[in-house]
């Protein structure tokens, strides 16, 4: 049992070092998250002011939005296995696709598996 006994502190310290290093990164990420949240709150205040002076959307955009809401409602209903009558979309926001190719592939495969 000589090697095992000698290896015990090595394994213990090694595992703790891995935790320690990742815990430090966790702390830094939490700090970044906090700073980002403070920044978002400030931006939101600015957005409210901007929204009040924004012009009203034209009719074509409203029609497009209605179609989009209908499509989103149907998609969510299908995914949740429920009726569209039980759902009400209050708001939606378009976000850029910054995910890598394999994430897109994975999502596509998952979707294909479900439907």
């Amino acid at each position: 049992m000589k090697l095992f006994v000698e290896g015990l502190p090595i394994a213990g310290i090694g595992f703790l070092i891995v935790f320690f290093v990742l815990a430090i990164i966790w702390g830094v990420l939490e700090l970044m998250k906090f700073i980002a949240q403070v920044g978002t709150k400030k931006n939101n205040k600015a957005d409210v002011t901007e929204n009040t002076v924004m012009p009203v959307n034209n009719t074509d955009d409203d029609v497009d939005e209605e179609e989009l809401v209908a499509v989103l409602t149907a998609a969510i209903a299908a995914s949740l296995n429920t009726s569209t009558y039980n759902l009400k979309i209050k708001s939606f926001r378009r976000i850029g696709n910054a995910s890598p190719a394999w994430n897109d592939m994975s999502r596509k495969e998952n979707t294909e598996t479900i439907f």
Partner: protein
């Protein structure tokens, strides 16, 4: 005419094979290579790496004269490698193998992985990084298991070999190769084959462990939607991680540094050309070189040993315990957060990106079809890449 024919026949592989007293070992290696090719091409088990590895194995085990051999694995197992001899007399694969021996290929693979990885889910949910640490449990558990087996006289692994075998638990091929080429070069082929085979078997190995360690209710937990991560955070992340890791564990800097450089290419928004090269052409070229040369080190003398069988068994233990470590830590986080964390995302803490995250998604969705855990599992999954590189750095700093 007859003399010429006899001379020609004496130079063919048939004659060399029959002259070799261990000819049957060579035949076994050729069969193993063909089986691996079958698994890669027909069964699609990590084909991108398993196919080059198997073909390298096939090439290196073909009967050939020593002076004109395509690969001389014995040159690289000595304490002092005669690089002059390798450069002047080496075969094609000898020259390409220098990239493995000098530790060039694994960090370059990490550069490509970094350029393909989105750390957004990890930045959005920072605590999930701890799951990547917990999933390294298998690495250290297997390190002790290998030493215990040596104490019992079943095998004869020293600390360096035990560390190299244990890193299979990190489920990261390049990391396993990077550690093994430094600490236990003789075990490189067996460890590389075991590591990539288990990575391919993630969808089979992990689900039973995940189900055994969680309740139906836990598996059905729906997690809160992740917050949006700003561009600034994504750019700062690779820089901060590199500084933290390189300061604490300099030996992990080549792997983590290149991973983060690749990610910086992707996130900076001004290095698109470099990012595309890193995640396509460069990683593909290096994958070919790495796979073929690692496979070519698997000759009958180095591969057909009792140790290889033990490495396969210990690799499975490492992988399973790592999965269990992640899930159990996920359960702990579930309790602490009062049910806000689905423990299934813990199993993604073994790196195996993105397959482990997809396994979490699939197992979770079987309990609750409207549950989408994929992006939540990507956090621990990419944390696992950093975690396994850090674990490798720990072993290298202790034993190099």
């Amino acid at each position: 005419m007859v003399t010429m024919f006899t001379e020609f026949m004496s130079k063919t592989g048939f004659a060399m094979l029959l002259e070799n007293p261990d000819w049957w070992k060579t035949l076994i290696m050729l069969v193993v290579a063909c089986v691996l090719l079958y698994l890669a091409i027909v069964k699609k088990f990590e084909p991108l790496l398993l196919a080059p590895i198997a073909f390298g194995m096939l090439l290196a085990n073909m009967p050939q004269a020593t002076e004109s051999a395509i690969m001389h694995p014995e040159w690289f197992t000595q304490t002092h490698i005669d690089f002059g001899n390798v450069l002047s007399h080496g075969g094609l694969l000898d020259l390409l193998y220098l990239g493995v021996k000098l530790g060039i290929y694994p960090p370059l693979i990490f550069l490509g992985i970094g350029a393909m990885t989105d750390f957004g889910p990890l930045i959005a949910n920072p605590k999930s990084i701890l799951l990547g640490a917990a999933a390294q449990l298998g690495v250290f558990f297997t390190f002790l298991s290998a030493l215990l087996l040596s104490d019992l006289g079943i095998v004869n692994f020293d600390f360096l070999q035990a560390a190299s075998i244990a890193i299979i638990g990190g489920a990261d091929g390049p990391t396993a190769i990077y550690v093994t080429k430094t600490l236990a070069p003789l075990l490189l082929p067996a460890i590389a084959v075991a590591a990539y085979s288990y990575m391919a078997l993630v969808p089979l190995i992990q689900p039973p462990i995940m189900k055994a360690l969680t309740t139906k209710k836990e598996r059905g937990i729906v997690m809160e939607q992740l917050r949006e991560v700003s561009k600034t955070e994504k750019i700062l992340f690779p820089i901060i991680v590199t500084i933290v890791v390189a300061i604490i564990i300099p030996d992990a800097a080549p792997l983590v540094g290149m991973l983060m450089l690749g990610n910086l290419f992707k996130e900076s928004g001004v290095l698109d050309r470099l990012s595309k090269t890193a995640q396509n052409e460069l990683i593909n070229i290096i994958t070919i070189f790495l796979g073929v040369t690692v496979g070519a080190t698997a000759t009958a003398n180095t591969f057909l040993q009792t140790e290889t069988l033990m490495i396969v068994v210990l690799g499975l233990i490492a992988f399973s315990v790592s999965t269990a470590g992640g899930v159990l830590f996920g359960k702990l986080m579930c309790v602490i957060t009062k049910g806000k964390v689905n423990p299934l995302i813990g199993s993604a803490g073994v790196s195996a990106v993105p397959m482990a995250a997809r396994v979490s998604q699939n197992v979770g969705q079987k309990e609750n079809p409207s549950n989408f855990l994929l992006m939540h599992a990507m956090g621990p999954n990419v944390a696992g890449v950093i975690g396994s590189a850090v674990a490798a750095g720990v072993f290298l700093s202790m034993f190099k």
